[in-house]
Symmetry: C2
Subunit: 596 residues, 2 copies
């Protein structure tokens, strides 16, 4: 500790919102270089190397072969798959001195596809799985939470190549198994949830989430075993409702009801329902949104959903990817005077509204109207009448209006039913530490990766893509293993197994401490030895540092030495006094137990 | 080999000029992703990991601590030291989505300086040495020779921090010693040569060169032990010559003598010298060059040197760094009609020529005139008379003309004398695999890295910077270890120790080969096993692949097995027949000998 390049901080960094960020900076593991970009100090680098080693070992054990791609790549392969455009402002782009377009790769599907195309040509060469542990780049709009959402980060990305769909399913399962072993070995709790494929394309996709209140991903699970990212939750569609005896729709005066709450209150006061009170769920809310397509095109869309639910922008974006979505602005409303804010109804939307002709000559709705899947035929609604202060009642879906389609954009709520019938859902948050995709043939098709099959026929290869956020997994470990005093690493990833602290001023103490540290090192135990003289660091400072750094076992050599005793303090658990002659044995046994 | 992700090529890649590039691609170690940017395939990555491990072990042994910096960095620190501008087009620059300026770091002096400033504050914290093994970027004008001059490459860069000059000298020596151990362990022949500091700044600097005819660096050495990069060679300055009885300068007609050769021939014919023939060394050649400064400013400079020597642009550039130099063009001559091409003399240059006033009010030569150090006072010259077809004879330096200074720009030639009196120089070429600098206080000063000394006084820290080109060292190893058949790795860095080849179709051969491979692996020997069936790869193909891949020991299990014999073929050396019962022992001993 007297020469180790580390300085612990007593104060939290001002920009740190979450425990892992706060503690990794305070304990001298990482240091901010730019927004979302970090420098690794010696202790951090040790932990990182251990996490990487686990990932590498399990990847090798799964039969995947390690390669390493550049981070700086030419535009062309990403243009061929459309991702150069789809990524929009989310990637770093640059030009070289010859004005060539390059990017800092956020992920490497294209390059792996081209490499396999370059080297392989027969079904006999497959299946193949390749991986790399490599620095990746994303120009995040809001880098946050330290290593959890950074702009330069380390990922393990793997790719599988198969001839058949069954082969892909088997390769996917192999990687899925390897991921379970990786996170188990790292000591990281995880949940596997169904996910959407997003901009990646492909069919099946699952995320590995580390449950954490600070996670950016919300997921749901049912007691019956269903688990999914909220973006992937599919709303169970109710049966259509008969509407033969439904009254005709009628427009009523509803002054000063720009919100659902005011509308429901007024409806109950002025137009009471005989059987029960009106609720927000009886209203049809029409939310105007703007989709921004990768080519910059802005498209207005209205989502119609029961008034007791809000639009979840992340679910909406997953449904419209690669477009991004945002609430419509004043300019959007100004361009569409038919949209009466607070009183928008189906009359001016979708098939009921104006029609425009596309470049290709198709006639489409001027404002695309998409309905929540719950708005099935026959359901009756109170909704806007497209006039200031007026709403229409008993407007029946399928009779009085229709839409251009449905969309999964409504928020998912605790208590909603799981789509597989396994019961009500509960919501939780998690950190995405892994994501696996059955890409299928999208990339191989776009880049011409084919092989000859048994019959000499050229077939397109089917691929999988499998990512572990290595630096993010480290942050998730820090997030899951800390207390008010500091970090508390699982032994497998701790920067050392044992932290030996010598306290006081007596030379005997330092000699004994050094001897213990030396013996432990000789036995293969990794030791951090706090040899700082008493005048540089008091016992209090040393204990606080040990707790902050989070090595799993602390050995204190101090005053007790006069009585032949040394204190062995697990970072989490009860301290014990141990005779100095036994300490190496006791500590070694504890380390072995932790590593077992 | 039946599942390893490798395909060997029989043809040389078209863009490969040098053996290492050609063979690393053909043997499936690397693959080009873009100009000067390579992908590492499994075998290449193994060699790279071994090279990195040697570098890491020796760095740790030297007491340096490993950290890891981002590659993507904000402009500001590089602006503070002036390097953002000085690098000109040689670095990759980019903007993030918020229009912030970033670069892909070519080297990290600034970041290390700021990190130490961030954490340390006292002389007690020093000395300190930090290093990283990290991916670096340079937008080379002419990436070439595969890994030798790439645009994305791996470097180990280390930095030392000391309070005193003596401390810096000691830190420098420690790193120098570590470098000697690194290259020795890698089995890489090296020469340590004095070097210039270039854009890096600082005082002492040495390069580690791996002698190779394809090296980009020319260096000189004398039998007496002097060694230097040609850029760093200092010309021994001759004594001034008395010129009291020198005749007055006289201008003569020299029609059609635009070159030194034609001038010498005409002088000998028309104006013969009584004591001996005129030679090119009697003429003073004035070479017009344009310096391009980092801010884009273009400055004409004329270098005067003996006519038997040419200007060496690399030496010139080292002398004028960070400016770059190029021969003057037509536009330059058009702007200066006083420069009569082929007949330029001192009369219109430097102090003899026109004078201009700088922005700061200083009066300077309109065309800066710099002399080779050999042009000492009293030397007599034939040189241009600044008129078409006329030269001046007996023009005496110091009497008839002077200059704005001297410059080391003339080529160094075999037979030139070493500046330290150690005898004549010989020239050779080498690949720069390491470069160490005593930076001094330039970076610490610019970025405010100070500590309190013993007396509580704030002092600026002095730094050293130490680089090993990791990927380039690997290429240098390939360059030094190959023959017409392929690569021939030293055992320490080979992708495996033993390459077991099974030939033929009999199951016994494959069983025996697999058993041998398995026993070797159990003994800790790294084995590459060619298990490809006979119908996929013939014995000839397998032998050719083994020779191309370059594993140090090849074990052939084939026809001889029927007689109980296996062939052990060192990649370089004589094959021997070994009884199958002895082969594991024989091979293990050979491997141990190679690794010793």
């Amino acid at each position: 500790m007297s020469t180790l390049f580390v300085r612990t901080l007593r104060e939290d960094p001002v920009d740190a919102e979450v425990a892992s960020h706060r503690l990794l900076v305070r304990a001298g593991y990482i240091r901010r270089a730019a927004p979302g970009i970090y420098t690794w100090l010696p202790l951090g680098l040790r932990v990182l190397a251990k996490v990487e080693a686990v990932v590498r070992e399990e990847m090798n054990a799964s039969g995947a072969q390690e390669v390493h791609f550049p981070a700086l790549l030419p535009k062309e392969p990403y243009e061929a798959t459309g991702r150069w455009e789809e990524y929009g402002p989310n990637i770093f782009r640059l030009k070289d001195r010859k004005d060539g377009d390059y990017l800092l790769a956020p992920t490497h599907e294209e390059m792996f596809t081209l490499l396999v195309k370059d080297l392989y040509s027969s079904y006999k060469d497959l299946p193949l799985a390749l991986y790399q542990i490599q620095t990746k780049y994303r120009d995040e709009a809001r880098p946050r939470a330290g290593l959890i959402r950074g702009r330069e980060f380390i990922m393990k990305d793997a790719y599988s190549f198969d001839v058949t769909d069954e082969g892909l399913a088997a390769s996917y399962q192999k990687q899925r198994d390897a991921y379970e072993r990786i996170f188990t070995r790292l000591g990281l709790e995880y949940v596997i949830v169904s996910a959407t494929s997003g901009a990646m394309g492909g069919s099946r996709s699952e995320e590995f989430l580390s449950p954490s209140p600070i996670g950016e991903d919300t997921f749901v699970r049912s007691a019956g075993g269903y688990a999914a990212n909220v973006e992937a939750v599919v709303t169970p569609v109710p049966e259509a409702v008969p509407y033969d005896d439904a009254p005709a729709a009628h427009v009523e005066d509803t002054p000063d009801t720009p919100t659902i709450d005011t509308l429901v209150a007024l409806a109950n006061a002025k137009y009471p329902r005989p059987d029960r009170e009106w609720t927000a769920a009886d209203t049809l809310k029409n939310v105007v949104l703007a989709l921004v397509h990768p080519d910059g095109r802005r498209e207005l869309v209205v989502v119609g959903l029961p008034g007791d639910r809000d639009v979840d922008l992340k679910r909406l974006e997953a449904a419209v990817a690669p477009a991004e979505a945002e609430p419509a602005g004043d300019a959007d409303f100004a361009a569409h005077p038919e949209l009466v804010k607070g009183y928008i109804g189906p009359k001016v939307l979708g098939p009921q509204g104006a029609v425009v002709e596309t470049e290709s000559g198709d006639k489409v709705s001027a404002i695309r109207y998409l309905l929540d899947p719950r708005v099935v035929t026959g359901t009756r609604w109170i909704t806007g009448a497209d006039e200031q202060g007026r709403h229409v009642f008993d407007l029946v879906a399928g009779r009085d209006f229709s839409a251009d389609g449905t969309i999964e954009a409504a928020e998912v709520r605790a208590g909603d039913l799981a789509p597989d019938g396994s019961g009500p859902l509960e919501l939780a948050r998690g950190i995405e530490i892994g994501h696996i995709f059955q890409l299928g043939r999208k990339y191989a098709q776009a880049l011409g990766l084919t092989v000859l099959d048994e019959n000499g026929k050229r077939v397109v290869v089917t691929m999988g893509s499998y990512g572990v956020g290595v630096t993010r997994a480290l942050a998730a470990l820090a997030e899951a293993n800390n207390d008010e005093k500091g970090l508390a690493w699982p032994a497998h990833v701790a920067p050392a197994h044992v932290h030996v602290v010598a306290t006081g001023k007596s030379a005997e103490v330092f000699e004994a401490a050094e001897a213990i540290a030396g013996e432990l090192v000789d036995l293969g135990v990794e030791v951090l030895y706090d040899d700082r003289p008493g005048k540089v660091a008091s016992p209090g400072v040393k204990f606080a540092d040990a707790e902050l750094l989070g090595v799993p076992i602390v050995v204190v050599v101090g005053r007790g030495l006069a009585d032949g005793l040394v204190e062995v303090r697990p970072r989490v658990g009860e301290a014990q006094q141990v005779p100095v002659a036994d300490v190496v044995r006791v500590v070694t046994e504890k380390v072995e137990a932790l590593l077992a």
